[in-house]
Amino acid sequence: MFEINKNITGFIEDMTYREQPYLFRMKRMEAANSLRQNGFVFQNQSPVSVKFLKKKFALDVENANTDIGFNCTLENFSPLVYCLVNGRNIVDYGKSDNKIIVENIMNVADKVNELFGSLCDIDENGFYALNTAAFTGGFYIEVPDDTVMELPLQLVSVFNSDCDSMFNVRNLIVLGKNSQLKLIQCDDTFSDHDFFVNNLTEIFVREDAHLDYYKLHNISNDSAAVNSVFIEQESHSVVKTFNMELNAGYLSGNQNVVLGGDFAETYAYGIYLADREQEMDNYVNVEHIGTDCVSQQIFKGIIDDSARSMFTGKIIVHRDSQRTEASQVDKNILLTSKAKAYAKPYLEIYADDVKCSHGATVGQLDEEALFYMQQRGISYENARKLLLNAFVAEVIDKINIEPIKMRVSDMVKKRLMGELTVCDNCVLRCSNAKRQTKYFDNI
């Protein structure tokens, strides 16, 4: 049984006693019980993930400063921006839009009564239980029926602490019938300290609703993030998720999608670029319950130095889910002999009329292509870069917010050249808090 730090268990205890809505107290107690009984259920234990989980983090960080002046400098990009500071307080940046509801989840227990925790099984994963027991706040977003959000919504979790800290952030998002939302979520830090963020987001996508959900991960080498996302889709809904894992000491993405209604579509795209000792793991689970649904998973990883990645992709097609189309691809390039990538597809198909495909590759850069390019006068370095960019382009080309596509593509280029360590202009200011001290400048 995997044991977590005493300070974490202490904090969980503490959280159940605080004054709070009945719903949350009950949920916390259930989760705390689960942790006590099952231990910290943690499937993919590796030296890196264990190292981060054993590290001592403070959990009860109050706001140091909420006036953080977040300002995204993406050109031609003016989304609605909300910041969540230290997983507790929401700061909005003026441009609020009365079409949607953005609240701190702590204040809306009555609204989320039926939904909270309904998609995630706390016994399945220690991080789910931990989040449920110890969350301190998070976004509640509601897009009313028939509401089309023209502007993207950017949710930034800002961490600003004077010691190494762990944050448990809990979000819940509801897209009403026939509504549309483009959501960008990122983590940002203004401090020199390491952090561990354990995000859990439940998303309910009602009939005919459309969601594009971007997650940008660009945190320091000494920080870790676990992002667990649960999506329930009703009929004719369409969800696209983009998981951009650019930098982190340890990253773990869990994405669980339930296609509950008929004719729903879900597309899960991801890029992970791991180097040094980093580890980036992705778990994607798509469950087809309705008929005539489409699901697609495309993940691409570039693993350098002695970094490691693990992709686990599940497709479950229930017996009555006829005319399902499900596909899954995970491709990895290893840049060194010490780099490791593991790909594990799991398919469980119980219906007959199903088109299903999956493929996983782990390989090196194509030597023949490198030679071919060099023979045309392109230097080895440049040829390598062109090939690596081409490799991730399949995913980047799917990004449908042009400024983000350009910025991500630029960041990937820089990252692949090893230049992001002087991150001048990234979507997040964060990744080099240790090396750079101009945190409060425009990013």
Binding site: D366, E368, A369, F371, Y372, M373, Q374, Q375, R376, G377, I378, S379, Y380, N382, A383, L386, L387, N389, A390, F391, A393, E394
Partner: protein, 248 residues
């Protein structure tokens, strides 16, 4: 003037000897045909000139424009004017023809201290060279060689050759698998580039190509060595009576 001198070249891969004391001199402006049965080392010779590092040079000299070629990396050789039309052109998904060619041209310009090519100039150059090889417009909008037919790939090699204006071009079985039409187009492309300064090594199995690209010298490569050299009539003899007559 000698453009390329190969002296007593011995080449092996994984301990297997492929070239066994090959010598060859090519003057500026000449076209040399290299013929020979499969597996005798023709492509190996081409790769070694281009600088492919998987092959070991055990002995011998490669001199290009009076300088030791082995001191240059693959891309430096290309920038210095060596071009290889691959027997099997490589598909590069995700790298567009335009991006690929622009990188190649700009790197070469940079190497010679020139500014990058302007978009305008580049587009004009592409259009001109596409016409030369009668290449379909859509091909340059695709990824390098991806999904190209065999003939399109070979045309694309000649297109790239025309774009890069090399001094020494090596055509490795560019004619294999081409129909008469494509053969004419490819040969035409080559002939347009024939100048008193530019040289060609044309590797082929068939005399057919040499009706279009008339060589100055024909060599027979067998078991890693050139066993016979002669004028273009040698190609006819080979076609008629086979290689065996020269093998003892």
């Amino acid at each position: 003037m000698k453009l390329l001198e190969i002296k007593n070249l011995w080449v092996s891969i994984n301990g297997k000897q492929i070239l066994k004391g090959l010598s060859l001199d090519i003057n500026a402006g000449e076209v040399h045909a290299v013929m020979g049965p499969n597996g005798t080392g023709k492509s190996t010779l081409a790769s070694v000139i281009a600088g492919r590092s998987i092959f070991n040079i055990d002995e011998g000299e490669l001199i290009y424009k009076g300088k030791d070629l082995t001191k240059l990396s693959v891309d430096e050789r290309a920038k210095e004017g060596i071009f290889l039309s691959f027997q099997y052109p490589v598909e590069i998904p995700g790298v567009s023809m335009v991006n690929f060619m622009r990188n190649a041209i700009d790197e070469k310009r940079k190497y010679f201290g020139q500014d990058p090519i302007s978009m305008h100039e580049f587009i004009n150059l592409m259009e001109e060279k596409k016409r030369l090889v009668e290449m379909k417009d859509t091909l340059t909008q695709r990824s390098v060689n991806e999904g190209f037919s065999g003939g399109e790939k070979k045309k694309n090699e000649i297109f790239q050759m025309a774009m890069l204006e090399p001094q020494l071009s090596i055509l490795d079985e560019t004619d294999s698998g081409l129909d008469i039409d494509a053969l004419r187009i490819v040969s035409n492309g080559v002939n347009k580039l024939r100048t008193p300064d530019n040289s060609f090594i044309v590797i082929t199995h068939y005399q057919r190509l040499l009706n279009y690209i008339v060589p100055d010298v024909v060599h027979v490569l067998y078991d890693g060595k050139i066993i016979k050299s002669g004028s273009k009539e040698l190609a006819m003899e080979l076609e008629k009576d086979g290689y065996e007559q020269f093998i003892k």
